[in-house]
Assembly symmetry: C2
Homo-oligomer: 152 residues x 2
């Protein structure tokens, strides 16, 4: 089910459709297409990027629909919102808390869920701070491999 540090988009696609149906939601062509994009979440798009991508195939689709469907999937726990400065990005491929690495040069967002130290961190926080962690948002800013060479 896991391919190259990425969950099988087809699996995520079906899971999201099922969740919507189970909650009494309806499947429209716009939702189908949006969910297909979110299932892969290639590049961790924001609402506008999803909108632009879908507009080619569905010229009448609106940003409001994107936001409404994103809110629905967030409520169902099927999409993770990555809150950046006045610019939310979305991950429907791995909708659980995991670190992200953001390149300050090319602005790409990378998954950092290979990092193993998080579990220890949560435990350390519970022990030292008596704070019971339920979720997190960890963002590391810096230079990705490609940009390190360009900049240096």
């Amino acid at each position: 089910m896991i391919i190259n540090n990425k969950i099988d988009p087809e699996f995520r696609y079906k899971k999201m459709l099922t969740k919507i149906r189970e909650s009494g939601g309806r499947i429209t062509s716009h939702r189908l297409a949006l969910i297909r994009l979110l299932a892969a979440s290639e590049g961790h798009p924001n609402a506008t990027q999803l909108y632009e991508a879908l507009r080619r195939q569905f010229p009448t689709i609106s940003l409001a629909t994107i936001y409404k469907t994103l809110a629905l999937l967030k409520d169902e726990g099927e999409v993770l919102e990555i809150d950046l400065h006045n610019d939310s990005h979305y991950d429907g491929n791995k909708p659980y808390s995991h670190p992200h690495l953001i390149c300050t040069h090319c602005n790409r967002i990378f998954d950092g869920d290979i990092i193993s130290g998080i579990q220890n961190l949560n435990q350390e926080i519970e022990e030292k701070c008596n704070f019971q962690v339920s979720r997190h948002q960890l963002v590391f800013y810096g230079l990705c491999e490609e940009c390190q060479q360009k900049v240096s």
Copy 2:
């Protein structure tokens, strides 16, 4: 210089004033008062909270002035902006990247800079992802000690 996991507010106060002077900025009564609040950053206030606090003593102060001074101090590296969902909070006491713990029940923001695992995390990211970390924003959501008892 460090008191109870907090840097001496007086030290921070003087440091910020010096930085502003050095960059050709002027010291006004409003800036003095704002910097005094930021030096302690008790409770990690946002712009509106700083505004409300200062308005008692300076009825004519404006939100714009708060934002402009915050921007100035951010540029100088003397204030850390904590980017939360449509709501930035500020820390002028410890203006460097450090973790924050946010209680989802009482909404208080705690410093998590006692956590030692961060260094290892940065190193793990550089090794495994070939990503050169320059700064980070780590936010853990959950229940603080007091609220764990209230909720349970």
